[in-house]
Structures are given as C-alpha cells and as structure tokens.
Symmetry: C2
C-alpha cells in the first residue's frame, strides 16, 4: 500500500467538517453544556477550564459519541449530549494532568494552563472536571455508560503510568508501545463510541462494531500524532514538532528508527532521548533519522492498518450518512498527515 493509493484529499479534508455540519444541533448543545457545567463560584475553575476547553480542541471524541448515537437511531438526544460532554471533560482532565506530568509548556499551540495558573490548579481543576463528567453521566440514567467510562478512565491512568515507567527504555518492544497507546489514547475513543451506542440502546452487535471502530481509530490517531511530532514524512519543522522529543518520550517512530540504526545512530538516540544529555540541535538529526530509516512512513502504514479495521467494522452496520461520515473521519485521521 502506498501513501498515494490511499489518499483522497478532496473528500477527507472535509470529513471533519461534514460530520460537524451533520451534527450541528448536537454540537451546539454540547458546547453549551461544556460551558454551563464548568461553572463554579470558585472563579479559577471556569477560567482555567474555559481556557483549555475553548483552546481550539477539535471535539473529536464527543463528535464520535454523537455520530454513533445518531447512527444507532437515537431519538432522545439529551442523555447523549450529557454523555458527549462527559467524554470531552474526561479528555480535558487528562490533558491538564498530562501537562503537569510531561512538564509541557505548550498545549494546542497556546501556553499550557499550568504555566498560567500553576501545577496545583491544573491538577485540581482536572479533578473537578473528572468528577463533573461522572455527574453528567449519572444524568444519562444508564449505569452501563458509567461502567464503560470509569473502566476506560482506569485504563487511561494505567497507560499513563506505564508510559512513565518505560521512560528511557529506548529498546521498548513495539508491542509494549502499542499497549501503552491502546490504554492512554484508544481506550477513550473506544469508550466514546461504545457508550454512544449504549446510550442509544443499540443491540450488542452494533455496540461491538462501534467499539472496534473507536479503538482502532484511537490507535491510528495516536500513531499519526507520534509520527507528526517528528514532522511526518515531510519534515517541515513547525511549532507542533518536537514536543515528544523534548519530553524524551519513547514512541514508535523512535523505536523503529533506533532499531534500524547502526551503532552510531543508537548512541545518538540513547544520548538525545536522555533529558540530562539532550541538546537543542539534536531534533534536526532525529527528524533526519526518522525519515531516512522509513520510520515515519512505517508508522503511518501501521496507522492505516488500524483505519482499515475501523472502516471494516462500519461496513457491517446499516448504511447511513452518519456511518459514511464516520468512515470518512477515519480516513481523515491518517490523512491529516499530508
């Protein structure tokens, strides 16, 4: 499979917009809930959460929940709006905690909240949003929804701790990397899709199909993210390039590039991905190695293999504009790279 064969820029560039348009009323309801449910008499809370919630997030996860519920023929969308808002709050809470854990200075191209309000406020407002997410889920009136998202939240935390534990392990097996991203990223995509179907009272087969879609989309999404952090295959160094490198994160592009390198290259990676010995100029060479070894290319190929699974799961379901839009969204998630 070549890059070109799978690229449909005209169609997919609009996939995200198509889905937002199809769901415009639902999206508006969720935006209103995101604002009203982060209200608090303690002003730091709405200020900080408003800053991160409105900081250009794509609302990818709640869009999935909404589209899945619509695809399942949901008629009462009020509980689904609560659920989609809860999913975005959980995502936001993990972002706030990640910024503290990763010591990142930028988030979505803006100063990280912790650099404005401090680490403590970021931790506690994350806790607030996480708790608020569960209150919103109670409003759906469905225990299985709470089961799905509390389990996903457990798995996300496990994935984050696992990632922390392998810091500096440059010979990380690919399987370990995949199990980390399955936990820290794909679990919430899967839960967003699965709970959307449950909230729409879908049958077990449909629930399973949407869960497969969500999980595989999440895996692909994270793989693409990790490749883009090194400029993808184009190596244009923008402001969003090099975050993982500076945080010395072990991601698949690095694992592949190091595995394929000679002794000198291995020594470079071992020095450059150690916070004590990394130099500013190392990023350029890291990007060169990731491109020249085909590591970026192969990370995208891995992502496309998951997208294929996600789209196949959609084919088993009754066709609708929502199913089409979800399939296009899957393409978009890998093709945003080019």
């Amino acid at each position: 499979m070549t890059l070109e064969a799978n690229t449909k820029p005209a169609k997919t560039a609009g996939a995200f917009q198509t889905l937002s348009n199809l769901l415009s009323e639902d999206v508006a309801a969720v935006e209103a809930l995101l604002e009203s449910r982060s209200a608090s008499p303690v002003s730091v809370i709405p200020n900080l959460s408003g800053y991160i919630v409105s900081a250009g997030g794509k609302r990818l996860r709640p869009l999935i929940t909404l589209a899945v519920a619509r695809a399942c023929g949901a008629t009462d969308m009020e509980p689904v709006h609560c659920l989609a808002t809860a999913v975005e709050f959980i995502h936001t809470a993990t972002l706030l905690h990640d910024d503290v854990v990763d010591e990142s200075d930028l988030r979505r191209g803006k100063q990280a909240a912790k650099n404005i309000w401090g680490n403590s406020a970021s931790i506690l407002v994350g806790d607030f949003l996480f708790a608020r997410a569960f209150t919103l889920m109670v409003e759906t009136g469905r225990l299985p929804v709470l089961d799905i998202l509390s389990n996903a939240s457990t798995v996300i935390a496990e994935g984050e701790v696992h990632q922390l534990a392998v810091q500096g392990r440059l010979d990380l097996p690919t399987e370990d990397y995949l199990s980390i991203i399955e936990a820290k990223t794909a679990a919430l995509f899967e839960a967003a899709a699965r709970s959307g179907a449950v909230c729409a009272d879908a049958d077990d087969d449909a629930i399973a199909a949407f869960a497969t879609y969500g999980k595989n989309l999440g895996l692909a999404f994270q793989l693409v993210d990790d490749a883009l952090d090194y400029g993808g295959t184009t190596a244009v160094i923008g402001k969003s390039v090099g975050d993982d490198f500076r945080e010395c994160k072990i991601t698949l592009p690095v694992v592949i590039a190091r595995r394929r390198g000679n002794a000198e290259d291995k020594a470079f990676w071992d020095r450059a991905l150690n916070p004590d010995t990394q130099k500013d100029e190392d990023l350029t060479h890291a990007i060169h190695l990731i491109r020249s070894t085909g590591a970026a290319e192969d990370t995208f190929a891995e992502a496309r293999s998951y997208i294929a699974i996600a789209k196949k799961a959609m084919k088993a379901l009754p066709p609708s504009e929502f199913i089409d839009a979800l399939a296009d969204l899957a393409d978009f998630c890998v093709e945003r790279a080019y």
Copy 2:
C-alpha cells in the same frame, strides 16, 4: 461549656475500636477489596497505592458508610462493601493529589508517596484510584450513590481550589474558612454517610439525618485537625505539628489568633505565613500566640458545636448499637485532642 465538662476519656477512647469490632466482618471485606481493586499489571500502581492505603489510615470514612448502612438495617452488605471501598479510594486519591499540591513531605508520619515515586506517579495513581472508585460504585447498582459521590468529588475539588486561591489571605473571614473545610473535608464525610443510607434503601428522613451527622462530623474533624497542627491546647511539639504552618495554610486557629493580636502580632503572622519570609524558629512563637489568644480553645469549641449537631441528628433515629457507636465516634473525633 468547658473542656472538662465534655470529656469522657474512658468511653470515647474506645469508640473507634468499638465501631471497628462491631463491624469486623465488614471491615475485613473492605480491606480485601482495597487490596484486590488496586491491583494492576502496571506494578507502580499497586505498589504506590498499597503504600498509602496501608499507611496507617484510620478508615474513618468507610467505617461511617458501613455503620450507617448497618444502622439502616442493610441486609445485603456486598454493595455497601463496594461503596465503602470507593469512599476510601476517593479519599486516598485526594491525599495523593494534596501531597503534590501542598508540597508536603510527610503523610501519616511516613514519607509522602511523591517523595518515593515522584509527583507524576502520585497524580496518575490518584486518577487511577478515583476512576476505580466509580467502577466500584457502578457495582452497587444504584445511580443515586454515583450522583452523591460524583457531586461530593466536584465539591472537594472546588474546596481545594478555593483554599489555593486564598493562600496568603491572612484576613480570611471565618465564614470563608468554614466554607472551604465544608467543601474539602465535610463533603466526603457527608457523602460517606448519605450514600451508606441510600445503599441500605433507607427512607428520606433517615438519609437526611445521617447526612447531617456526616457533614457536621467532618467539619468538627477538620477543625480539630487544624487546631492539633499547632499542638492543640497542650502545645507538645510532635512530628505531626506544624505541617499547615510550614505550608502557610490559613486555618481557623491562625485567623482567630491574628484577629486578636496587636500590630506586632499581626506583623509576625504576615511575615511567618509567607513562604518567602518564614523562618524555622517561627513555629514556636506561632504556637505560643495560638494558645495565649485562646485560638486553639475556641477552635475546639467551634468543633464541639458541630459535634452537638451531629449527635442530635442521631437522636431522631431508632436506637441501636450502631447509632450509639456513631455518637461515641463523634465524641472521639474532638476528644482525641486531649
């Protein structure tokens, strides 16, 4: 009301033990759940949570949940065990996050977990335990239980952020202090009691009475804690004295002592409770001022007023050994001071 008039050392010293003995089977079930539900293939998680969960915590909050459920005549205790475990996990998660927020080095007389595993692991394992708490609550099969504890968790985070926001405000009004401790401490005591009654299918009057008990016990508990941090009325400087002072926390004993001080005293408090100007030797003088102004004494008096409300709420309920034990526990919570 004098200290002596309200002190029944022989009876109350054993109140905690009496309750533990009455509930010994339930306590054993909760201990087993605390261990089995903090299991994870990511070894840092059981190691860190085992360290803090087994670090001599008194299990006060889950004991309240268990005793309330028994007092309400619960027959199926399995859901109550899940709930009590969830309550302790939420408490543990807040401790882990508090240690990072407060930069405290000691917790329950041992090194804080963050000093062994780092801030990041403490944040993420806190998130894990918090998520696990909600999974346990789903197992109770009762949405109202999830509603109570997700709301309480929101309020706790609000209280913590509020406390953060008033740091350095030495003229904090008493009402603001009380609203902070009502949120950060009393909310979980109240939720522990209320949800125990809900889980036992108690009627609305009983639920309200137990909620009143829990909230007022929590307020008293925090007031006593804050007074003991300055050695109470005895001023024996132990290892648990001075934590709040070193973290420059504004608590009621400080608010009262400063309000009653002359210009020189006020200047002392303003300098000593500023992290940039505090000196090691300031604690001794702070303790002296808190005793000599009657601030410790009056903080205990405030605590006793809440204990009276808590015990009054118990009087409206059908008598039982559990009700008696809960009333004695309330006395114990203030009298542990002497």
